[in-house]
Symmetry: C2
Subunit: 467 residues, 2 copies
């Protein structure tokens, strides 16, 4: 029979168990930190109606949406697709459940998102994103813009990377106001796009792109100077004020940025933040604060997360304003690049506490009873039942567990079990402390009134067709 | 502007945060129990190539597969779809990574699966399944059939249901052998199907369905008697032996069932298991042990999980046999029916430890500093920043947290914070124990060398367009 290809689809993560354990650990830490900062978990369906997905998607994102339909259906009639982020479904969720939620609604979402990207190394078509958002009803304090950044910095800190993480922070209103003051309001989208891509091209190319828009030389110079403004709060705010831009939106943007940075500084996070006018964020739904996290010592990695303030995201669902601010860690991509750059401690294998090896069929029930006791006492424990040599079983045991317990006739007779620590090579007699008995021997198997199990049947036998 | 429908797609779970917290708790408990029994987590992509999905799907399942494609693609050319279970992807995974895995490979998977079912109450098109499997290379001991059942019973026990859970256990070989002995080997599939549906129809209808296959009266009687065999290990094994069926497959099936039940009994699980000849399990890839979990006091609920032994699942990928045994808890459906039947403790809300309420803008930075300290000491803490009345903020605080801390001028002056326990109504002064200092006061905000934040800006202001 011709065999099927066993590789997973392109652009998806598939890990071996030990690596998966490291991924899971990071994911669970993020979730835990988000909760510690007051963000409650929700899950929206991974499938949404296409009108919901396309309402705010636009452009490239819309082309990347995966439609979902049965074989009997036609793609022209597709009405559902896979979500490409958590933010659009969140807008729907908030409007759907408005009356059952408390506002400001601090919420986290971790799950798979999907984008029909061309598959290439490090690009994923299905990937985890770990999001937090704060959504207000009617209005939402700027303090929550800082709250999201604080929380995400704390999440990254649990990775214990040996390289610093930096939050680059700006506010969309500043650029919007600047362009209005320069008489370039009509070009806001194109210019934002050029600035957003400035780090991927040379400064000369950025200059040319701006000139292509028929900007005057002073306009180009002002913009180029502007996007190079970065540094501490006091330096950047001072520089922004010194530009003397006479525009309300600009002033408000600078004021908002100052407030957000001030709160972050007051928490001693000054070293981990930078005001940075190059930060735009691609998505067009951002209306105020925008931020992006990077590893400054690894420029090749680029953004490892980001987010911003969006004041109009729910407009497609409700007339009532639900301003929000949120951020997202693209965990699948982050895990991939951290691994590529040897920034993850992959030695930290997730081992079981004990592997129990019955020497023959005669000890299987006893072994499972010992495992049962250990498990009841919260020790992760597995029983190894194969017809391999003892040395092979011990090798297997040492791969999956920190300790090994071999059970033979003698152990059952004496009730004394020796646990070998595979790490140190030492052996100790283990005792279990259950509720009131201080050190009871492992519970022996109770076969009293049941027919004796024919032990050799537990092992597979090549002569039998069924094993 | 016409507003979009805010309801989630039909056939998907969408919960409010407090209910989601209960769901998450159950899911995490299952994952933890699985690990405690030695099952390592993996995740395969939720999208697979269609040839992989259809290799073993067959019949109704194949029609229910969701194809996944971009709008620009044609459904006739669809090459990928959403997985409908974890078992088919696992077979691919094991063959793909054979050389990097240790066998027997004890593995768990928890994730969303997708089926194009007609939407109706309690039927889900996307749903969580929590699976465990043990896969051997070449062969796999029967002990693992018991291992899976033991582990799943332990998983259900963490739900603390006030109604017993019962594992109904059989072995496919027994029916196969019986039908061969009756000269009905050619009708095995149809008859299995009738037995599988017997509990959904009247005994009379089952009898008619069997007669429709042109079975003789004695054949029908034998089958009807057979499928009514259920009870303790000793009763059922005795009854099966008394049938004196002279067929090897039958004998082997009875022997295997006896061994599996014996191991379960030796662990004191006799009350939670029942040998039951009505258990078939729909999927045709099962080859030996089959089992299903039910709540005997809630017949309306039906199966709450199940699984079995499959010896040929990897044949599409590899010539080498990888026999396996596994089980699955359909958590989304289970959660739904438990809720419907009031079997879940939904009072157990997942609250934060503290909600901190700054009385005005002047206390926001201080409040975030207190939160930061509490969070560093692992207390989940949120800061409430709204322009609502204090009484409204306290109501909100009591909804999201167990304790509330109001911070005003006095608190900042004295450094003494009073935490109100919303449950008991008592108030206590909280102290934090960090590394070496025994009871340090919360770290005060440090505004020294930064311009003072203009506090009223933190609150939104209706007169400003941007908030």
């Amino acid at each position: 029979m011709k065999k099927l290809n066993t590789s997973p689809i392109s652009g998806a993560q598939e890990l071996l168990p030990t690596v998966q354990a490291t991924f899971d650990k990071l994911k669970n830490r993020i979730i835990k930190v988000y909760k510690r900062h007051g963000y409650f978990n929700i899950e929206t369906p991974s499938i949404e109606r296409l009108d919901v997905l396309t309402a705010k998607a636009g452009g490239d994102t819309e082309k990347q949406i995966y439609n979902v339909m049965k074989t009997s259906e036609k793609v022209e009639h597709a009405s559902e697709g896979l979500r490409f982020d958590h933010t659009v479904p969140l807008a729907r969720y908030v409007c759907a459940h408005e009356n059952d939620l408390d506002f400001p609604f601090k919420v986290q979402q971790t799950g798979l998102n999907y984008r029909g990207e061309r598959a290439q190394k490090g690009r994923f078509r299905e990937f985890y994103q770990c999001d937090i958002d704060v959504v207000g009803r009617g209005k939402l304090s700027l303090a929550y813009d800082a709250d999201v950044i604080i929380t995400m910095l704390d999440a990254y800190s649990t990775f214990h990377l040996e390289t610093p993480v930096l939050a680059r922070i700006s506010n969309r209103k500043i650029l919007t106001g600047l362009l209005a003051a320069l008489g370039l309001a009509d070009h806001t989208n194109e210019i934002s796009h050029i600035i957003d891509h400035a780090e991927k091209v040379t400064p000369e190319q950025t200059k040319l792109s701006l000139k292509d828009l028929k900007l005057t030389k002073p306009q180009v110079e002002t913009i180029l100077n502007f996007i190079n403004l970065r540094g501490s709060r006091s330096d950047v705010i001072t520089a922004l004020n010194n530009l003397e831009i006479n525009n309300d939106t600009y002033q408000i943007g600078v004021e908002e940025l100052d407030l957000v940075l001030g709160l972050l500084e007051s928490l001693g996070l000054g070293d981990q933040i930078s005001a940075d006018m190059q930060i735009i964020r691609g998505l067009d739904y951002y209306t105020g604060t925008v931020f992006e996290f990077v590893l400054p010592e690894y420029k090749n990695i680029g953004s490892i997360g980001g987010g911003g303030r969006y004041d109009n995201l729910t407009a497609y669902f409700s007339d009532r304003p639900f301003p929000g601010v949120g951020g997202s860690i693209g965990l699948t991509r982050l895990f991939f690049v951290l691994n590529e750059n040897h920034l993850l401690d992959t030695s930290s294998q997730s081992l079981l506490d004990y592997a129990i090896i019955p020497l023959s069929n005669d000890e299987i029930e006893y072994a499972y009873n010992v495992a049962h006791d250990l498990q009841s006492n919260n020790y992760s424990t597995t029983v190894i039942v194969t017809d391999k040599k003892l040395s092979d079983k011990l090798l297997y045991a040492a791969k999956v567990a920190g300790g090994g317990i071999v059970i033979g006739e003698d152990e059952i007779k004496t009730g004394e079990l020796k646990a070998k620590d595979f790490d140190t090579g030492t052996t100790s007699v283990i005792t279990f402390t259950s509720n009131d008995a201080p050190t009871p021997a492992p519970k022996p198997a109770t076969n009293d009134d049941h027919p004796t199990v024919k032990p050799d049947e537990f092992f597979s036998d090549d002569n039998k067709s069924f094993l």
